[in-house]
């Protein structure tokens, strides 16, 4: 069992957990991911590693409650444990001194961008960061990102905090203001955001790395469910990625593939809500607080 040592509520639907996993912490590098299974009936859930502490033997994961499994995970408490955590999987981010770079994080994608930005800064890069979310509530780790960035721009779609804009707007402004100076860009967030970041940076010809979170089962190259169509053929996100050249990804195919199980996901959520409502009703009826 992999025990939860810390739990933090970052928003109504975003939770942070620090979990005991010394073997994975020992090996983890920025850009890699893990797969967790909650219990006997659980599915294999891929999550990007948000942080790790080799000495404490812990890894940090941040997830948004988007389906039945993540909702159930959100209820796990300190002292509870995962049946399985396996990793670190995928290739680490290629870190070197590229010069001036931009890190873009959207929503829960800010978490996995953080260790990359930190490593880039440690390698001597000038790191400019742009983080954004739909609304203020969903922003996270602004302080941590600020600490590893020479400049930090915060946006929200609804203007409830920071600048009212999509992340692509300030991104484009920086690229225009500093022509030829930015050598590399990382973007992690919802697929649709990464698609538009790639579209924004393409005219400027700045290499843009995205971290893909496709549907996957084993995470070790066995099932091929995660395959992404690149301009020269299919690749497996789990073993060839998770980072890819955003300018070469077939985004429409990716967006279509990640929604393949949507109806099953919805029915599982409804069933989960229903069973939880029943439990709540019973608890109220029995006078349990």
């Amino acid at each position: 069992m992999y025990k939860i040592l810390e739990r933090e509520v970052l928003s109504d639907v975003t939770k942070l957990m620090v979990v005991e996993a010394p073997q994975i912490a020992r090996k983890a590098k920025a850009g890699q991911f893990i797969i967790v299974i909650m219990h006997e009936h659980g599915e294999r859930i891929p999550l990007t590693i948000a942080d790790f502490d080799r000495e404490a033997g812990t890894i940090t994961m941040i997830f948004q409650e988007v389906g039945k499994s993540t909702m159930e995970m959100g209820l796990m408490q300190v002292g509870d444990g995962f049946k399985t955590i396996v990793g670190p999987l995928g290739h680490p981010t290629e870190i070197e001194n590229f010069g001036s770079v931009i890190c873009v994080g959207g929503g829960v994608g800010i978490a996995p961008v953080y260790p990359i930005a930190r490593a880039l800064k440690e390698a001597g890069n000038e790191v400019i960061s742009v983080i954004g979310a739909r609304t203020k509530e969903l922003l996270l780790w602004e302080d941590k990102m600020r600490a590893v960035s020479s400049e930090l721009i915060v946006t929200t779609d609804d203007g409830s905090y920071g600048r009212k804009a999509l992340v692509t707007v300030p991104l484009k402004e920086i690229l225009e203001a500093r022509p030829g100076e930015i050598t590399k860009i990382w973007a992690i967030g919802p697929a649709i955001m990464m698609k538009f970041v790639a579209a924004t940076t393409k005219p400027f010809n700045v290499p843009t790395i995205v971290s893909l979170n496709t549907i996957m089962v084993d995470g070790t190259g066995m099932c091929g469910g995660c395959r992404v169509l690149m301009d020269d053929g299919a690749q497996f996100v789990c073993v060839d990625g998770p980072e890819f050249d955003g300018h070469r990804v077939d985004w429409n195919n990716l967006l279509s593939r990640i929604s393949f199980y949507r109806s099953e996901e919805q029915s599982a959520v409804e069933r989960w809500r229903e069973s939880h409502k029943c439990k709540l009703d019973r608890a109220v009826a029995e006078g349990v607080k």
């Binding site: 089962v217 084993d218 091929g224 053929g233 073993v239 195919n253 199980y261």
Partner: protein, 488 residues
Amino acid sequence: MAELTKKERMKIPRQAMPVQEPDDRVENFSEVALGFTLELARREAERCLQCKDPHCMEGCPVEVTIPEFIEAVRVGDLAKAVEVMKAKNNLPAICGRVCPQEVQCEERCILGKKGKPVAIGRLERYVGDFELANNTFAVTKAPSTGKKVAVVGSGPAGLTCAVDLGRMGHDVTIFESLHIPGGVLVYGIPEFRLPKSVIRAEIETAAKALGIEILSDHVIGRTLTIDELQTQFDAIFLGTGAGLPMFMRIGGINLNGVMSANEFLTRVNLMKGYQFPDYDTPVKVGKKVAVIGAGNVAMDSARCALRLQSLRAKANGVERGEVHIVYRRSPAEVPARLEEVHHAEEEGVIFDFLTNPIEILADDKGGIRAMRCIRMELGEPDDSGRRRPVPIQGSEFEMEVDQVVFALGTSPNPLVFVNADGLQRSKYGTVVADQETGRTTMEGIWAGGDVVTGAATVISAMGAGKRAAADMHRYLGGENPWQEIAQN
């Protein structure tokens, strides 16, 4: 019981395996073949002529003394039968179910010359199941040698190697990348052919008796690498199988609904997708499914699809749908076991021979509308000795399907080779290892099973695990073939 004469024995017909009827079994994932009763087993055992020079054993990769265990069944001494069996084969309940006996032991049975061979596989399964239920046999471990061995992969090759080394007194640790041990036995072979409870029981019994530690969730190449294992263990066996799926290089392979047999079977078997939403992993089945290929994995995929369709039909009162096996060669070249093909046919799988997909066509929602195929004919024999299928010009047609499952074979997963540059591999990605001993090009590392041969059978992997264990034992005892090679 009165002793029968040879003539009388030869008159007994081969006993039929009791099975679930096709109409019933397509609505569940329970085992199809129900197993012999004691009476059936003893009657079948009565057929064995107890040859002085038995050929059946030559066909067994793990050299089970077949006539001896059959004789014990015949006289009803099942504990003895188990003892004889387990001297060579630690996983009889598994092998009895999935070995292709018809091309191994049973093919060489003398009775098969004129009639039907002794049902050795079914008897083996009977003995294995008896042992799982009764635990008569205590596996014994030789005095500890103090040597530590790492076995990478808990499929048939790794398990066999681990158990043999354990019996020889070595301290064995198995590393498994998935969350349940068993490898392809668990993720690939469906419940209706090999129940998970059988695998679990057979593995747990052996591991417990021999003090073998099984570390699941350890991806060698990621969580730990081979060079790290080398510092902690005296010898390493690689039995990592052939886990990478192959896709055809045709248009449309990334459409929704196109998947590898590995993904489809893993969702159904390992993750129990057929019990969604009680289990969290979903699995989808189309109204008209095309499985490409005709090996055992293709049959397993087709039969799983059929069951999922039947369960959906029963639950929602809709039409069941269709499952097709699409194969570019003819029935004569089908690589799957005859029994599996027969079961698939009985259950209603439709076979489209001499047919090859050339493109998968999209619907307007990113899914599959149809599969464009071409008819084939058989030409001159190819490298495999089978007649090469050649496309018939102008015979293209569209097959309306909404799911395509590729079961075209697999190749070794290269993940394990991280930080193991000295390990020589073939152009197919398989590990180069001595056929007799399993020695690789790196000192102290052996390999066997699909990672060496490419996708093959459970029992050939077990044979390789066994031969490697014997050689590793010699090495751990002080012989060093690598040094001898270097000196010469």
